[in-house]
């Protein structure tokens, strides 16, 4: 019988997953070291591996990271959400609009998360009731959400009066020394907390198993009595909520909201998941991997800036990394498969 198991008895699903996450973590470390060395070799180098820069990297990546947590869920379940970027901008715009109108900060923040969650729920409902593939549905809602954001913002950037923005919101990802707590802005800690919650959700709950089952084989999930439309809609709703929270971070950066500022963000979010080992055909991915994926993108961005590379270089490098990550992953899968 042992001949059929292929892998040694020690290798189980957990260790495989741990190994995958570890692989991404290793890639993060390598990317970091490469830039560290390159930076040190510069005449005026040495600013890359400072605590301050690490803080900046973490703060900058938290928008993408938080939204990517939700995207991980969606991608594992075999879906995709192209509207994440514009949904995020819509949520941020709603937040700015509420503050601008003089509503309390609590109301505004709740509205922001709610709008994000609503966007996700709409995606989920459309996908499960119309039975149109997620790519097309969210391609449509991507445009729809941006349209609504433009409508709310009256086609411009909303800048609520400074005194309307509470301190805790404007310092969410601030890297000033007195805004930090235990070395990081509190927004980074919050993002980390969300990561842990999502990780536990995926691993230890029935819902988590359903997410994987759906992405792995939807027909089987249905046959086993799983309420597929409900689970799907929940996945998109939860992911939407996270997109809403990412909207908070996005707003907090500049204390303003531009309705079109989310365009292109969805690709960065998806890239984080994919670099983190998520499979676009579903069934595979991990929250920790995604976090590392988001960090890899941020480290490359920061490193390239400090090395004086121009913006386009960063784009090219990140594109290359995406292709390399997926190729490597496929290669590894194939080796396991035999």
């Amino acid at each position: 019988m042992s001949d059929d198991k292929g892998p040694s008895p020690k290798s189980n699903a957990f260790s495989v997953q741990a190994l995958n996450s570890f692989g991404v973590f290793l890639a993060l470390v390598i990317v970091f070291l490469v830039f560290l060395v390159a930076d040190q070799m510069q005449p005026d180098g040495g600013s890359f591996a400072t605590w301050r820069n690490v803080t900046v990297i973490c703060a900058q990546t938290s928008v993408i990271a938080v939204a990517a947590l939700g995207m991980t869920l969606i991608i594992i379940s075999g879906g995709i959400d192209l509207s994440a970027g514009t949904g995020l901008a819509l949520a941020a715009t709603a937040l700015a609009w509420a503050l601008d109108r003089g509503h309390s900060a609590t109301t505004a923040v709740l509205l922001c998360v709610l709008v994000g969650s609503l966007c996700g729920t709409i995606n989920g409902l459309l996908i499960s009731t119309l039975r149109v593939v997620p790519f097309i549905v969210t391609l449509g809602t991507m445009s729809i959400y941006m349209g609504f954001a433009k409508y709310i913002a009256n086609q411009t950037t909303i800048r609520p009066p400074l005194d309307a923005v509470p301190n805790w919101l404007s310092t969410l990802v601030s890297t000033n020394a007195n805004d930090r707590w235990l070395g990081f802005p509190w927004g980074v800690w919050f993002a980390l907390g969300l990561t842990i919650v999502m990780s536990l959700l995926l691993r230890y709950t029935v819902f988590g198993r359903y997410v994987f089952a759906l992405g792995s084989n939807e027909a089987t999930a249905r046959l086993c009595g799983i309420n597929v439309p409900l689970v799907k809609t929940s996945i998109y709703a939860i992911s939407g909520g996270l997109v809403g929270i990412a909207g908070l971070y996005h707003f907090s950066k500049l204390s303003s909201a531009n309705p079109t500022s989310g365009l292109g963000m969805e690709l960065e979010i998806i890239a984080a998941v994919v670099i983190g080992g998520g499979s676009l055909s579903g069934g595979q991915g991990s929250v920790l991997g995604t976090l590392n994926g988001a960090l890899i993108i941020a480290v490359i961005g920061s490193g390239c800036t400090l090395l004086g590379f121009q913006n386009f270089t960063t784009d090219i490098i990140i594109g290359g990394i995406i292709i390399a990550a997926v190729t490597l992953d496929q290669y590894r899968q194939r080796r396991f498969a035999t």
Binding site: N12, F14, G215, L223, C224
Partner: protein, 497 residues
């Protein structure tokens, strides 16, 4: 009292009556063979049992209680589980997660893995596999073991009736032996097993009772020991066995295909072979013996590492395109995956390898093509609404005929047929044997790969036995028996160990 009982179940789809007053009984502690050709109504009956279809008339009883499932989940809850040909597993999930999928043990959504594992372990122990690693993702298990995981899922759901639909069609010999052991254990544990299959030898080995379906009706049932194989075939086909292998006289001519030390990455041991016009060469061997790989090498579908292929005396460059041009035709064993473009029409599929007759300057004369395909459909008796019907809408047998129509339309001199009769009904099989004979009589050469020895020995002129990627022996078909073929297939593999 029988555990599962159906009385006069009828089901129609439009004007087609798929089931007519079907009655049968499955007893606990026994294995019932449900046999019949494709299209006889087996799958409809199965869908009625699983609740996917509601019957138009008739009743079912499970342990004396009325049984009227409204869906697969409902049937499972009542204790009727289906193990389909296409396994229903989430490949990325672990063994334990797959077994418990949909009936997880939890508190407020939080998984209780310890309790789950205990339950899964229990089910696996019942099946004789207490040591299977529960955390292995199922995509790393063999098909046989994956099937076991599905059976374990049925047990966890407390299934009393377990239905297997053609369970051995994608299994290796070892896995089949293992599956039968599992089925025997299910029988011992007083469950009722319904075993749907084409393979009468298997049925004889594992089943106690039988029920034969033909054209949606039960044409015979009883205890297997009371009938012999030819009686069963007669019931299935409605005619006698002699007509099953029609013989068309044909004569061998000059050598048309010659392999010289041909090797590819998946066929590492160089192969030599000669094939004459008017010859049907059967290729036998166990799954994994390299039969498909040999055909792929001949057709240059795998990169050729060394060796040459001569077609009608001409050296052929190693590209499928060149092979087709020089008169080779290949019918894949995998109709779904590579043989046919499932969503394209019959005419597209039948003419894809030879469109020249209908094109002028790259423009296709669709009308001319349609009438050509139409005549092929008539000749092969393809049952379809029109030449425009997509492949997926056809039955397996008709799909196979379209695949054959392609190589015939291509006017190939050498036909490479990989399991051309797999998964199709006896009547169509017989048509295909006749067709092969006719092609040989017309001076074409055929390499015929099959795992079903009776047909291989009856239809071929010579039979080659392969094992471990090597052609072990070629003899005239009448010099082989099923036993000697098996002996070579198995001995070969041991000799290499």
């Amino acid at each position: 009292m029988p555990l599962l009982q159906t009385q006069a179940i009828s089901k129609s789809f439009g004007a087609t009556r798929a089931l007519r007053e079907v009655s049968f009984e499955a007893d606990s502690g026994r294995v019932l063979a449900l046999i019949g050709e494709n299209g006889a109504g087996k799958s409809t009956l199965m869908k009625v049992l699983s609740g996917a279809h509601l019957p138009d008339a008739g009743t079912m009883h499970l342990a004396g209680e009325p049984y009227r499932p409204t869906g697969p989940q409902d049937a499972r809850k009542a204790g009727v589980a289906m193990i389909y040909q296409e396994l229903n597993l989430a490949p990325d999930l672990s063994v334990a997660d797959n077994v418990m999928l949909g009936c997880e043990m939890h508190a407020l959504g939080w998984l209780n893995r310890r309790a789950q594992n205990r339950r899964v372990r229990e089910a696996l122990a019942t099946l004789g596999y207490p040591d299977l690693d529960l955390q292995t993702p199922v995509n790393r298990l063999s098909v046989g073991m994956q099937q076991l995981v599905e059976v374990a899922r049925a047990l966890v759901m407390n299934a009393r009736v377990i239905v297997f639909d053609e369970p051995t069609s994608s299994l290796t010999q070892n896995d089949v032996t293992r599956l039968f052991e599992v089925i025997r254990r299910l029988r011992e544990s007083q469950r009722a097993v319904i075993y749907i299959s084409h393979f009468l030898e298997e049925v004889r080995e594992i089943c106690d009772d039988y029920a034969v379906l033909r054209d949606g009706e039960v044409v015979g049932s009883g205890v297997l020991q009371d009938v012999d194989e030819s009686q069963l075939v007669e019931m299935m086909v409605g005619r006698s066995v002699d007509e099953l292998f029609p013989s068309v006289p044909h004569k061998m001519g000059e050598v048309v295909l010659k392999l010289d030390k041909l090797a590819t990455p998946s066929l590492p041991i160089p192969a030599d072979l000669e094939l004459r016009r008017g010859e049907i060469l059967g290729v036998a061997g166990l799954v994994g013996a390299g039969r498909t790989e040999l055909l792929r090498a001949i057709f240059a579908l795998d990169p050729v590492r060394q060796g040459t292929v001569q077609i009608a005396g001409q050296l052929s460059p190693h590209q499928p395109r060149a092979r087709i041009r020089q008169g080779l035709g290949f019918v894949s064993e995998d109709r779904k995956g590579e043989g046919l473009a499932q969503i394209r029409s019959i005419e597209d599929n039948a003419t894809l390898s030879r469109l020249q007759p209908y094109s002028t300057g790259g423009l296709l004369n669709l009308g001319k093509r349609r009438s050509a395909v139409d005549s092929w459909m008539k000749r092969l008796e393809v049952k379809a609404l029109s030449t425009k019907q997509p492949i997926y809408a056809l039955s397996g047998g008709n799909q196979q005929k379209v695949a054959l129509a392609r190589v015939l339309h291509q006017d190939a001199d050498v036909l490479l047929l990989d399991e051309p009769t797999r998964g199709i009904d006896v009547g169509t099989k017989s048509q295909i044997y006749r067709l092969m004979g006719e092609q040989a009589a017309a001076g074409r050469a055929i390499i015929f790969v099959s795992s079903y020895l009776p047909e291989l020995l009856a239809v071929s002129d010579r039979v080659a036995v392969m094992s471990r990627g090597r052609i072990r022996e070629i003899r005239a078909a009448e010099d082989w028996t099923e036993e000697t073929v098996m002996a070579i297939s198995i001995r070969g593999s041991e000799a290499d160990e």
